[in-house]
């Protein structure tokens, strides 16, 4: 069973539709009670860092989520700003992040960019993965959709599950124990995204 955390941000329905097609049981949690029984969690997100943190903190699901992830060690997948929220902080905002992964979120440095189109990093890009046993199982040369101006800067690079080149390589997917994140949008990345979400369900 996959549980989507619905704190008012991100494309919950796109995830639900994909899991329904895959015949994977899926549910949407909007309260701590609904979240409490979650076995596998997806934290989606489209939005600015502080707005996303504010919405999550106000949802009253925050404590329950921290306990599920940090104490009960349930697998969790953060997507886009949902991944960025797992860091300690972000250049985009002032609020503290969830701090589940030792990382901070930084803005790309445009001064080193050679091309005319700079930020946001928008569109389909290659994702080069190291570990093919978890999220990227069964994929060859996948492409995913990106839409962001900030990136996930890990303190310990060994947590990087995949990297992507945008005027230099940055961490496009991460894993630290039971905590997973993707900077790209698997729910909007056609067959590769569907495969990734299937892989997460089968972990």
């Amino acid at each position: 069973m996959i549980t989507l955390v619905n704190y008012g941000l991100g494309n919950v329905n796109a995830f639900v539709n994909i899991y329904k097609q895959l015949n994977v049981p899926v549910t949407v949690a909007e309260t701590a009670d609904e979240l409490a029984m979650a076995e596998k969690i997806i934290l989606p997100g489209v939005g600015a860092f502080d707005w996303a943190m504010t919405r999550l903190n106000e949802s009253e699901m925050r404590d329950c989520l921290d306990e599920l992830v940090m104490v009960k060690k349930r697998p969790v997948l953060g997507v886009c700003v949902g991944m960025q929220m797992m860091a300690h902080r972000s250049d985009e905002g002032r609020l503290l992040g969830l701090g589940w992964i030792d990382a901070e979120v930084k803005r790309f440095d445009e001064s080193g960019f050679s091309q005319k189109t700079q930020l946001p990093h928008m569109g389909w890009n290659d994702v080069r993965f190291g570990d093919s046993d978890s999220l990227f199982k069964g994929m060859t040369a996948p492409q995913f959709y990106f839409l962001h101006s900030y990136y996930f800067a890990l303190k310990y690079p060994k947590s990087a599950l995949a990297v992507t080149n945008y005027n230099g390589f940055f961490t496009s997917a991460v894993r630290s124990g039971n905590v997973f994140g993707t900077q790209f949008h698997p729910e909007k990345s056609h067959k590769w995204g569907i495969q990734l979400l299937k892989n997460f369900a089968e972990l």
Binding site: N17, N125, L147
Partner: protein
């Protein structure tokens, strides 16, 4: 490598899809949800959906339809039409749309861009500039309300302004070429491209894949949007949703790479 985006642009009118010529003579081309399903199968890069009635009729966006489209789309969706407030932007993003396009409202009050970006992030704020040549000197001017109202704004200066205010993308649409299928206005595109570093998507005039290839060859990373090209087939403009295959797209991108 980041790839250029090839983006169908769909127009909504009375709940159905239409295609216009020079922003007039809307022709019915089908049901929006059905079109999204076909575009899913074709694995399109992104979709733009614009409700062309909303601003003209002064009404709210159709949230039910937007939610249905967003849930159906397996690719990123940009919605435009009738969006005037930060609350509307927030609501549309919360329905599962990745990007919201603003046009007439930001001509009236450009600060809407920075206010909306503070909530949903710059990456989700798209400014659409519908441009045509006007006046005795045939200079470029931004129009709103389906091309009926001149604004006096120059697209190059306005593009710089929206970039400074925190927009995440500019969609540049050439009204005079809408539905004409004779190629993009490369002169206009180049003027705006030189002025800003935001991602740009250009619309108006694409008639075949060669037009898109030329665009990508000239500008590299850019969004190549088209309406007629992806909904009509043949010289009699029979309605047939189409989109280049991955092999065809890779060939277009290779031509860009060999150029850069």
């Amino acid at each position: 490598m980041l790839r250029p985006r090839i983006v169908p642009c769909l127009l909504l009118k009375n709940g159905g899809l239409v295609k216009t010529v020079r922003f007039s003579n809307p022709k019915y081309v089908g049901d929006p949800i059905n079109a999204v399903r076909i575009f899913n199968e074709k694995e399109v890069d992104e979709l733009i959906v614009v409700d062309i009635d909303a601003t003209a009729q002064g009404r709210e966006p159709n949230y039910t339809l937007i939610a249905n489209l967003a849930a159906e789309c397996r690719m990123p969706l940009c919605y435009g039409g009738g969006v005037k407030t930060v609350e509307q932007v927030e609501r549309i993003i919360s329905l599962g749309v990745e990007k919201v396009a603003l046009s007439a409202a930001v001509i009236m009050s450009p600060d809407l861009i920075s206010e909306a970006a503070a909530r949903v992030g710059s990456q989700s704020i798209v400014v659409v500039m519908d441009v045509k040549k006007s006046g005795l000197l045939r200079h470029y001017e931004i129009f709103t309300h389906n091309g009926n109202e001149g604004t006096g704004f120059d697209p190059v200066a306005f593009a710089r302004r929206v970039e400074a205010l925190g927009a995440g993308e500019v969609v540049l649409n050439t009204i005079d070429l809408d539905g004409e299928m004779k190629g993009y206005d490369l002169e206009l595109i180049s003027l705006v491209r030189e002025a800003i570093s935001l991602p740009m998507t250009v619309l108006g005039g694409a008639g075949n894949l060669k037009d898109i290839e030329d665009l990508i060859c000239t500008f590299g990373i850019i969004g190549a949007a088209a309406g007629s090209l992806f909904v009509f087939k043949g010289k009699y403009r029979a309605v047939l949703i189409n989109y280049p295959s991955r092999v065809e797209r890779d060939a277009l991108f290779l031509s860009q790479m060999s150029n850069s």
